[in-house]
């Protein structure tokens, strides 16, 4: 087990370093970092002085080493724009995004799970067709369009929820709904398809033949075997959800790290972009590992496979 943990941590560290190098390369190949940061019209002499102050005059390998050093130490420097520690800016906004992402994930699990379960139970009947159509629609609608639609209905027409902002729990409902639409639909479709498949497995017929109540067959034999693909998907989806939050946060003016990152990229505020990418990479790595742990808890055979792989069997 310690070896597995060490492997996991190494993988996360490697991912973080790669993401960090990617930030460095992308922000440099997209042009002179100072042009995005300074408004046009600066005296070249003052601009050069600032370049020296920020260490941008040093050779690229030296800058890259400094950049990696900052990644490892967690000291990303001050935001070029706001002159405050970049990591503090990201961490101050992180809880809002985590709350939004977690709410969306919870909605995807609960609503998507219920829809998928219902669609499988009602297989080949018309309600299942309707449920599948709803799921497909949820996947097809872009989050920004759905967000705007939700604002018009619930904020402008019904006036029951705020159109934008980050003022309390009521501000989370609409962006979370917009963000959750896609994963909810996909969870529903994956779960439904997998349930329909495992239902045809011999062990399902055996369980039914033993005289077990239908509810027990579904809940104790079919569901645990069908849930893994959806769970694996959600693990991967977490990264996309944080990415998707960038768009949704923009539409709903939600004060999360997505908007901060978007602004920082536009300004070429490299310390903030750097801190953002590293924090998100760590998050995705940690959440991916947590999903693996949950998957093993649901299906212990995975642990055996994982253990065998770890010990070279």
């Amino acid at each position: 087990m310690p070896k597995v943990v060490a492997q996991r941590l190494s993988l996360i560290l490697f991912t973080v370093l790669m993401a960090s190098v990617a930030v460095f390369v992308l922000m440099r190949v997209s042009g002179d970092p100072l042009t995005g940061f300074l408004p046009p019209g600066s005296d070249p002499a003052s601009t050069e002085a600032l370049r020296r102050e920020l260490g941008l005059d040093r050779p690229l390998p030296s800058q890259l080493l400094n950049h990696i050093g900052r990644t490892l130490s967690g000291d990303f420097g001050d935001s070029w724009r706001g002159r405050q520690p970049a990591l503090d800016l990201v961490l101050a906004r992180l809880p809002a995004t985590l709350l939004l992402t977690a709410t969306s994930l919870a909605a995807a699990i609960v609503v998507g799970g219920a829809l998928g379960f219902a669609a499988a139970r009602l297989e080949r009947r018309w309600p299942a067709t309707v449920l599948n159509a709803v799921s497909l629609t949820g996947q097809a609608i872009p989050a920004f369009w759905l967000g705007t639609l939700l604002i018009i209905v619930f904020a402008v027409q019904l006036r029951v929820l705020p159109a934008s902002g980050g003022d309390g729990w009521r501000s989370i409902i609409l962006p979370a709904a917009a963000l959750a639409a896609y994963p909810t639909s996909l969870v529903a479709r994956l779960l439904s398809a997998e349930l329909v498949t495992v239902r045809r497995q011999p062990y399902a017929a055996t369980a039914a033949a033993k005289g077990l109540p239908e509810r027990t067959v579904w809940m104790r034999h079919l569901l645990p075997n069908a849930v893994l693909p959806a769970l694996a998907y959600l693990g991967v989806q977490t990264g996309f959800l944080i990415g998707g939050a960038v768009v949704v946060e923009q539409v709903f003016a939600y004060p999360g790290i997505g908007r901060l990152a978007l602004q920082a990229v536009a300004d070429r505020d490299i310390p903030v972009v750097h801190a953002f990418i590293v924090v998100v990479a760590i998050l995705v790595g940690v959440i991916g590992s947590m999903v693996d742990v949950i998957a093993v808890a649901i299906d212990p055979r995975l642990h055996d496979r994982s253990a065998r792989a770890s010990y070279g069997d």
């Binding site: 300074l38 600066s42 706001g82 159109a163 902002g165 300004d267």
Partner: protein, 494 residues
């Protein structure tokens, strides 16, 4: 040059305030983006300026007609070409209760000079600040700089005795109409009324007890905020939304801003080194059709960079280039390009691409094939003076009350953003920068306007406008030519 306003004792002013229309409880203002800082020296766009100019006062400001009005200054005088005297109003207080003295002027200048380019560049011309007495300061400049007052109005906000980088954002203390209550980065800035701001300020008096500035990047969301009662004033709305604002039970207010749109022509490269080709470009674009078709009729075709009467150099009698395709073809033919030519136009992705496409199509009608090259804003800014970059670039510029910055950067042959060279233009720009008399400067810039028609530096397009949505409950707020959304009542009416 002397600008002065009669001073009214605070007690009298207080009575005036009590008689003014009722103070509102709270106003929510939707701006576009979080400035990320409330440091006046690091604020570069109207969102940030709206907030910092609500918190701080500069010695002077631009009035509704483009005139420079004394604000925290009782008088603002140019003693000689290199010396400005600022005599502050008596009795002004910072939000912490401490008096505003001439030392605040020194601190403001020092802070700007120690900041970052281009702001630090602008104020590097001030070689010394002399505190004559408790409320009088003199700015000594290294060279004649008649353009400095326009920069003072934007940047030189009076700073308290103690401040640092963090406190400027987290606990700003100014002397403006509102005090900082809280700044939630990325979300909101909360202000509360400055009870001491009862003197007859030309900035206007506070409209409400509390202000919440929110940052809402999407126009559709700002509109929803207004229509759902979540916001009282929304800024920077597309003109297509005017009807939605009015039909939704709010008021739309449009106002020309002191800014201009143009397509810069690089004259350091053939065939644009030939003035006839540049004149042909101006004749080829049906600017009025674009204004009518794509800008909801907002704007007037310009003869040069000067947007309207509020801008120095604007000459109402000067006729812009006519839309005349035959003339354009003739000029091209005279210049040896009767068979047409091909070129490239850069445009930032933040600007409207459909406008650039319309301009390109119109140029195509007279035989000038234009390839559009959209670029992300930072990349676009990087290429202003790059001789290898596209000869044409669509740009907007604001504010232009005083055109010195634009002209010295974009038109002057030594400008950091320039690809234009014209000794006559250089001479006029330099003379205007040193001319202390405003009427004299205006005349010099008007002469430059003629030069810029004879030897165009750009395709001159239209003056810019802004659209705001305002809730019915908000009465007395008026937009400003510099686009700052300052929640006061009675702007310019001191």
């Amino acid at each position: 040059m002397t600008l002065a306003t009669p001073m009214m004792p605070p007690a009298v002013a207080s009575t005036t305030a009590q008689e003014s229309p009722a103070l509102l409880g709270e106003i929510v203002v939707d701006l576009l983006s979080d400035p990320g800082t409330l440091d006046p020296a690091l604020t570069y766009a109207f969102d940030g300026w709206s907030i910092v100019h609500s918190l701080y006062d500069a010695p002077i400001q631009f009035g509704p007609n483009g005139e420079i009005q004394p604000l925290a200054a009782e008088s603002f005088t140019q003693l000689d070409p290199t010396t400005f005297e600022i005599r502050l109003r008596q009795g002004l207080l910072f939000h912490d209760g401490k008096p505003v003295t001439s030392a605040a002027v020194t601190r403001a200048v020092r802070h700007l000079q120690a900041s970052r380019p281009p702001v630090s560049d602008l104020f590097s011309v001030v070689s010394a600040v002399e505190e004559v007495d408790a409320t009088t300061a003199r700015l000594r400049c290294a060279e004649p700089c008649a353009w400095l007052p326009a920069q003072i109005a934007v940047w030189m906000l009076l700073l308290p005795k103690q401040f640092d980088a963090a406190s400027l954002t987290e606990s700003s203390v100014g002397s403006g109409p509102y005090k900082l209550d809280a700044y939630e980065p990325g979300n909101e800035v909360h202000l509360i009324r400055n009870e001491a701001y009862t003197w007859p300020s030309p900035k206007g008096l506070p409209l409400a007890e509390r202000i919440r500035f929110r940052f809402v990047p999407e126009a559709a969301t700002r509109l929803s905020d207004l229509l759902s009662g979540g916001a009282s004033i929304i800024a920077s709305m597309p003109f297509e939304q005017r009807r939605a604002i009015d039909d939704g039970g709010a008021r739309s207010i449009d106002a020309p801003t002191v800014g201009a749109a143009w397509v810069r022509i690089a004259t350091d490269t053939a065939p644009f080194d030939d003035a006839r080709v540049r004149q042909a470009l101006n004749h080829a674009v049906d600017v009025q059709a674009i204004i009518d078709g794509l800008l909801s009729g907002q704007g007037t075709r310009l003869a040069s960079f000067y947007p309207d009467e509020r801008a120095l150099g604007f000459d109402p009698s000067r006729q812009p280039f006519s839309f005349d395709q035959e003339r354009a073809r003739q000029l091209l033919s005279d210049a040896g390009h009767g068979d047409g030519l091909s070129t490239v136009m850069d445009i930032a992705t933040t600007e409207r691409q459909d406008i650039a496409e319309a301009i390109a199509a119109m140029l195509g009608d007279v035989g000038i094939t234009v390839e559009l090259r959209p670029a992300e804003q930072a990349t676009f800014n990087e290429q202003w003076s790059d001789p290898a970059a596209a000869p044409l670039r669509f740009a907007t510029w604001r504010p232009l009350y005083d055109p010195h910055t634009l002209l010295s950067l974009v038109v002057s042959s030594s400008g950091f953003l320039s690809r234009y060279s014209n000794p006559r233009a250089d001479e006029l720009i330099q003379s205007a920068a040193a001319e202390p008399d405003r009427t004299g400067r205006n005349a010099l810039y008007q002469q430059l306007g003629q030069t810029l028609m004879d030897e165009p530096a750009a395709i001159y397009l239209w003056n810019l406008s802004s659209l705001y949505g305002v809730a019915e409950s908000v009465d007395g707020w008026s937009p400003r030519g510099d686009e700052y959304v300052i929640p006061t009542r009675g702007y310019g009416q001191a």
